[in-house]
């Protein structure tokens, strides 16, 4: 199975602070849905920013398709990897379509504007996340959940081979959390899209995700199929919580903490 994104002994620290990522080596498989889990502050967001090329490791290497990510020009990389940041607010009342159209900018030469084909792609991306009806609305008027869907649509408009999402469901309600994961799974099945998702929604991982990476203190503690990682023993160690319990029912894993 080929790896689309790979970290080799990657290390990273912010400014002069302590290392946030410590010699992490891992690979994201092509066409698979991977979850990145771990307690707050364990380095999940930093890890996916490294994979998105927003940060460069101090030591080690991030590879895309076997080539060092930093050797790929930024705009080229933006055609292959799309990143969805954590819930955020926009300072200006752009329309939803304007926001999603920025996903086409890696394909648009400097003094050109997006053409009709780009608009069609953007509207298609909005329809994929069930948000086509928002196209003409102002992003500043949307709910947190709607904004997040727009952000995902923008990433899809980039037509990437790989999506990297940093807690995309943080602002979403129960229905939309599940819907987002189902959308990602459907894109994987239909188009072979790869996605790496930072998430705290452990109950949504099995059976929709293919792989789980568990981080603690900036190191990779465990990885494997959801049923291998989502166990009492592993999760207790990852979250340093002896009260974590899991139970497999009807092919899905339920998780709670007593």
């Amino acid at each position: 199975m080929s790896l689309i994104l790979e970290a080799r002994a990657a290390e990273f620290s912010y400014a002069a602070g302590p290392p946030v990522i410590r010699r992490v080596s891992m690979g994201v498989s092509r066409g698979k849905l991977s979850a990145v889990i771990g307690p707050n502050g364990c380095g999940k967001s930093t890890l996916v920013r490294l994979f998105a090329g927003l940060l460069t490791p101090a030591r080690g290497e991030i590879l895309f398709d076997g080539a060092p990510l930093r050797s790929i020009p930024r705009r080229e990389a933006a055609k292959r990897i799309a990143y969805v940041p954590q819930a955020y607010t926009l300072a200006f009342p752009f329309t939803v379509l304007e926001v999603v159209l920025t996903g086409r900018s890696p394909y648009t030469p400097r003094f050109r504007f997006e053409d009709e084909r780009d608009r069609a792609r953007a509207l298609e991306a909005l329809a994929t996340v069930d948000a086509a009806h928002l196209a003409e609305r102002r992003v500043t008027e949307l709910s947190g959940g709607e904004r997040q869907m727009v952000s995902v649509a923008r990433a899809l408009a980039q037509e990437p081979q790989c999506l990297v999402l940093d807690e995309p469901s943080a602002a979403l309600d129960l229905k939309h959390r599940a819907a987002l994961v189902r959308t990602l799974a459907a894109l994987r099945d239909a188009q072979g899209l790869t996605a790496a998702v930072v998430t705290h929604d452990l109950h949504l991982i099995d059976p929709l995700f293919d792989h789980v990476f568990a981080l603690r203190g900036g190191t990779l503690l465990a990885q494997g199929r959801p049923d291998e990682v989502l166990t009492d023993a592993v999760l207790a160690e990852v979250y340093e919580d002896p009260h974590v319990r899991t139970r497999r029912i009807d092919g899905r894993t339920l998780i709670w903490s007593n």
Binding site: Y14, T89, F92, E98, S105, T108, E114, T140
Partner: protein
């Protein structure tokens, strides 16, 4: 209205904006060239030497100067708002004008009227002060990967206060003729400016305008958020550096010549947004044109409102811009990052 505007492609909206604003600029220009303490009879330009002197020595350079300064301040405001993702950012609120004013008053106080390899020292000092201010404010407002909007404006206000105190101190210690020169200039005035100053400014400003136009795509993406821009292929650090330097040149040079004319960079980009939408690739060129028209009009008001007494143009823009700033604050639901 919105549906209507959105159904047009961005390119069509841009051309429509440029056409409308160019017409507006030409009309305002013609009006400002004609009106004043004495109206100009354009037919007499060929025959009457007095009209010619009035027109070519006073009226025309002044209108051109207003256009240059208005364009520069407006486009710098549009760029800074996008860069800092703050609709209230502009050279005056960020302390950039204040920094430029300190630099320029030092040059005036020491009587550094000359030029180093063709660059007037007062321009260099204005630029130096402006870039120190913009970097300082940026540094203070940044916390990790976030720019804190409140801290940004507070830092800008405080930098401005420090700058005004510094200018006052400089005025106090320098001799009285230069102190008066600083005072007249600090309020912002476009009087008695010759053609050579216009050309010299154009030499510095025009490349900056072109650079910002070329960077309007990056600015459009940066306005969506730093991480988003980075993920869309923008070299965020390089773009920030370029925009900082360009805005500092624009503000430093205009402040050195016209004094601290406030709020042009606030009113104009927002007016363009209200008319033609939020896309920075329209707001940047639109601000360039509307900025020129706006400051020409403000200067026309300053010259004619209480004629024969002339108001400082900075007072006119501040009287319009201050209330506009408060109105924007009041409408904060439209702009969430305040």
């Amino acid at each position: 209205m919105l549906q209507h505007a959105q159904s047009r492609t961005t390119a069509v909206r841009l051309w429509r904006a440029l056409a409308l604003l160019t017409v507006l600029l030409l009309v305002v220009m013609a009006l400002a060239l004609w009106a004043g303490g004495r109206t100009i009879d354009f037919r007499a330009l060929r025959s009457d030497p007095l009209t010619r002197t009035l027109f070519f020595r006073l009226r025309l350079p002044r209108v051109l100067m207003a256009a240059l300064i208005g364009s520069s301040l407006a486009v710098a405001g549009a760029a800074l708002q996008a860069l800092f993702r703050n609709p209230l950012a502009e050279p005056a609120t960020l302390g950039v004008s204040g920094g430029g004013a300190v630099g320029a008053s030092i040059a005036i106080a020491f009587g550094w009227g000359s030029a180093v390899s063709g660059v007037p020292i007062v321009f260099v000092c204005g630029f130096g002060g402006a870039i120190i201010a913009v970097l300082l404010v940026h540094r203070i407002a940044r916390s990790g990967t976030l720019l804190l909007p409140g801290a940004l404006l507070l830092a800008g206000v405080v930098v401005n206060l420090i700058a005004s105190a510094a200018v006052l101190a400089i005025q106090y210690v320098t001799d009285s003729s230069r102190a008066l020169q600083i005072l007249r200039w600090i309020i912002g005035s476009l009087e008695t400016i010759g053609f050579d100053t216009v050309w010299r400014m154009l030499l510095f400003l025009a490349p900056c305008w072109i650079a910002l136009l070329a960077f309007s795509r990056e600015l459009h993406l940066l306005a969506m958020g730093e991480e988003t821009a980075g993920a869309l292929g923008v070299n965020v650090e390089r773009s920030e550096t370029v925009v900082h330097v360009i805005c500092s040149i624009l503000v430093g040079v205009t402040v050195a010549v016209g004094g601290a004319i406030g709020f042009v960079g606030l009113i104009v980009p927002h007016a363009v947004r209200l008319m033609f939408g939020e896309d920075l690739r329209i707001v940047v060129p639109g601000s360039l044109l509307l900025g020129a028209a706006f400051l020409i009009a403000a200067d026309l008001v300053a010259r004619t409102a209480l004629s024969p007494v002339e108001l400082p143009v900075g007072a006119v823009t501040a009287l319009l811009g201050g209330p506009f700033f408060l109105w924007l604050l009041h409408r904060r639901q439209r702009y969430s990052a305040l």
